[in-house]
Subunit: 223 residues, 2 copies
């Protein structure tokens, strides 16, 4: 039984990786930089994206694929902040996005008019880590309300992250969260990861986040 | 491919349900009331359990099975608060506990000396909802830092919950969280769910939580 399950899982993952490679190739052909944005439920993905679309949606030609278990609330929230296209993927209860869903979703986007694609994954610190979506960069949001130990408890997510964004920093005075220790735990599982600190509520750190996006997109600018 | 995966998944779930029934029968034979405690990462399961073990570990003969993806940090934290047995289950990256893990874990407990078994699931609002562990009651912790919309976005978890415990209520003044709306959303997906409100930091609401545990265990008291 177990062996059978693992075999099937391996075939599913191999198929996902093949599709992710196709997504990656397609996006590269259009000069698009793509972010896979992951976190626990409620770490602030959608709020950060709202601020991002309001500031950079037009200048960076951002398009969004918003994954959600059951609603398209996030996509609706985001669409209110931008004239840019936001495509909702409702996973029907599934715990992560897969490359096939992104492959299908980008059919609905105007890739020629997109430079930055942000894929908002399902809120989950475990499963999405295993699924390559064809992204250029993996960003994990990590809220200061979650406790410093999350990188040790959910190492795969942090091992594979390029950036960790500590969110809700405005709450630091009210929660027992040692940011230095959190950074140390992240580096323990992933010595190459880089950090940003933001509060979408007060705006602290958003300038650095916006700069990061601008810098990431610039090298791919089409002539 | 998809059909094959679904077939295997159905067989896995059927096997899980059969094992959960065995766990349930075994616990009932020992007069044990069992809670499956679930939430997002960082919603406060371990902190609430620390307070619970300190107050009621001995009087209610509590035993704990603590599930975690990769560490036994939680089990270690909990063991410091009780002379009672805390058994760690490290899932090796898996996103939920299953009935086989609980079946094996309770072998390590002294069931004759246990009245209340608390199973701390992996921090994840999606996957654990699908896995019956043989529990008597399902409790979902829902932190006020997560946003009111979580019941709509992760409905399966809330549909199957007997109790929702709103946690970190001490942070209500600092976060944009409308508790009435959160309750309404919970009731929308599950009209029978009941509520508690706690702050493990200030102690607000803990008396009601302790009463709930005392009342739940009382009817099963052995003579």
């Amino acid at each position: 039984m177990t062996v059978r399950t693992i075999e099937v899982r391996e075939r599913v993952m191999a198929r996902n990786d093949a599709l992710a490679a196709q997504v990656r190739e397609r996006l590269a052909a259009h000069g698009i930089w793509a972010m896979n944005l992951m976190s626990s439920p409620g770490a602030g993905k959608t709020t950060l994206l709202e601020r991002t679309l309001a500031e950079l949606g037009e200048p960076l030609d951002i398009a969004v694929v918003a994954g959600d278990c059951q609603t398209q609330n996030d996509a609706d929230r985001l669409a209110a902040h931008t004239g840019r296209l936001v495509h909702a993927v409702v996973t029907g209860g599934a715990c992560h996005l897969d490359a096939l869903q992104v492959f299908d979703a980008i059919e609905h986007l105007d890739l020629d008019a997109t430079r930055l694609l942000i894929v908002e994954n399902v809120g989950n610190l475990v499963c999405p880590a295993s699924w390559d979506l064809g992204e250029t960069t993996r960003v994990v949001l990590f809220s200061v309300t979650e406790g410093e130990d999350k990188p040790l408890k959910y190492p795969k997510m942090f091992e594979k992250a390029d950036w960790v964004v500590l969110t809700k920093t405005d709450l630091l005075p009210y929660v027992p969260f040692d940011a230095d220790r959190a950074v140390r735990y992240c580096l323990q599982v992933n010595p190459n990861v880089r950090f940003l600190f933001v509060s979408a509520t007060t705006g602290d750190g958003l300038a650095e986040w916006f700069d990061f996006l601008r810098r990431s997109v610039a090298p791919l600018a089409r002539v």
